[in-house]
Symmetry: C2
Subunit: 343 residues, 2 copies
């Protein structure tokens, strides 16, 4: 089959690789119907050291089950399924607590011999614990929204829920990328009253407004913090959803959060140390979030996507075929595209 | 009256100062019956720059109301009362949320012209919002335990509750000072199943065991982390209550916490930046805690202290008179005393 392999910074290729086949009795093979490129794929695309062996890539996909191992019971050949961005057994202690990202049987697509999502098909380990069955549809818009359950909408929801967003709370979302916009949507869904979106790309922030942002702050740093405070009676917001991952974004979050509030980070931190000193302490600010256990959230979010109440698939602003994936990376890295769908 | 004044590192004096009197109609004057020296008083005692004006000190006291302003309704002359370590109005938005430490009308004893607790009497601003009436008692043990509501027991409870300690959870408490020991007691009270106390002073850790610690780990750093993991199936504990405030303690907490768990800090951080990078993120660890809103917790904790179920007053291992306060500081700084009661 054809699949995407990254060989180093800026070097993404679509190549012929071995067809996936069942290994363990708990495996399934899924033919990919929709996948996409993630903002977090851009980190290795920016700085991966050259590796002649290459690394399979892509962790968001939905598709049709082609084959299942003898121990797989929850999905069968022909089912339309979505996969979270990490696989997991859904039976261990961590999975039962809803922290599927810490499942000892789990892992990330593309690593340790697993397939990546940006390919024609994927061998799915722990298929019963990983895949979620969807009703069949050929509606492009619905397929796009269902695909966001794999990562960005679930990740936005993780940010919102760990930061205790609830009815009547006010929220700052840092970052107008796909995760940031999905965090706006998730905050709206959880009842946030005021949602301040910090971002400076007007087409993106416009979608943010459509998703529920009540205010847009293009300023950054101290100036951005001052704007958020101005909008919140000088206090900052109960929740800050940090959807970027840079230290500057985290620092901005510390300035924008209300005393007693929480900053939830869902952008992978690109720093080892951050400002968690006396100022945070005196104000009883919490730092929470992390890698989103999408598997835990999909059943709940799925209903609202299926009935059309929420359309996170609007974050896709470009659709390409598999062979155009290298161009898709270039477009996202160059900020010409917000999020690229592979169909 | 006589009261304690700190003039710089190592320079604590008991002096004659003006008698407190009512200023605002919301004030009360309280004659101090018990006060004490706090571990956090040792920070200025260690490093305060010399200041010839001096600074009143002490933030834990209980006493008898001597006089009340015309707008004070909840306490009256002759009442025995305890004061949390910060005053607050108990009516603002923050107080209503239980975050009395962020009350705009609030403040810390000894600052901005207020009296410190280590003196004969205190003018109490916002008396209705601050003071909590106690039943009269002359029982020394009970008075000592009631005094811990002012700070250390409430602070231990803040650590435990913000780190989501609950029935069946396991907990690491870092630090065998008075707050650490009270955190053990608070974790026990909230139903923790396993409580690992990290400390190396045997008389203190023995009291920790009496308070509910199931394991004691004297090792520090990587060795200490390894011990906690050994005791918890390699996973670490759901909650880490960091009751020291050094960067080393925070780093140890990061190593000892279970994926999905929380580190609550109640020791004032003596650092500006800490390890909050990808490792914390991948494991979905939260950092929480801060300055404890003792006022919010006292009503709940009071009942269990009054009926003798919990005896946090056992943290006091030395009792002195007011004139001996300088010697009390020396004893605590030299670790000859765990916590010094002033009676």
């Amino acid at each position: 089959m054809r699949a995407t392999v990254i060989y180093g910074a800026g070097d993404v290729r679509v190549e012929t690789v071995p067809d996936p086949k069942l290994g363990e009795s708990t495996d399934a093979v899924v033919r990919v119907v929709r996948s996409c490129i993630c903002g977090s794929d851009l980190w290795p695309y920016a700085d991966m050291a050259p590796d002649p062996r290459g690394q399979r890539i892509g962790h968001e996909f939905l598709g049709v089950v082609e084959e299942t191992g003898s121990d797989v019971g929850s999905v069968k050949k022909g089912d339309l399924v979505v996969a979270p961005f990490m696989f997991s057994d859904n039976t261990c202690q961590y999975c039962r607590e809803g922290l599927h990202t810490s499942c000892p049987q789990g892992g990330m697509w593309g690593y340790k011999g697993t397939d990546g999502g940006q390919g024609e098909a994927v061998r799915v380990p722990q298929a019963d614990g990983t895949l979620i069955k969807l009703p069949h549809t050929e509606d492009d818009g619905l397929l796009a929204s269902l695909l966001t359950l794999s990562d960005v909408f679930s990740t936005g929801h993780h940010a919102a829920t760990t930061a205790r967003v609830a009815k009547g709370k006010n929220v700052t979302v840092i970052g107008d990328g796909a995760v940031g916009l999905c965090a706006v949507l998730a905050a709206k869904r959880l009842g946030a009253e005021q949602i301040v979106l910090m971002g400076r790309h007007e087409t993106r922030t416009n979608l943010g407004r459509e998703f529920g942002a009540t205010d847009v702050v293009p300023e950054r740093g101290e100036e951005g913090i001052a704007k958020v405070r101005e909008l919140t009676n000088g206090e900052g917001t109960h929740a800050v959803l940090e959807c970027v991952g840079t230290k500057a974004a985290f620092e901005m979050g510390m300035g924008a959060v209300r005393a007693g509030g929480a900053i939830s980070r869902v952008g992978v931190p690109q720093y080892e140390e951050g400002p968690v000193g006396p100022r945070m302490f005196r104000r009883n600010v919490s730092v929470t979030g992390g890698v989103a256990p999408a598997r835990a959230y999909i059943p709940e979010l799925l209903e609202d996507v299926l009935d059309g109440t929420y359309q996170p698939g609007k974050v896709f602003d470009r659709t390409i075929g598999l062979d155009d994936v290298p161009a898709g990376y270039r477009a996202m890295a160059g900020r010409e595209a917000l999020k690229v769908l592979i169909a």
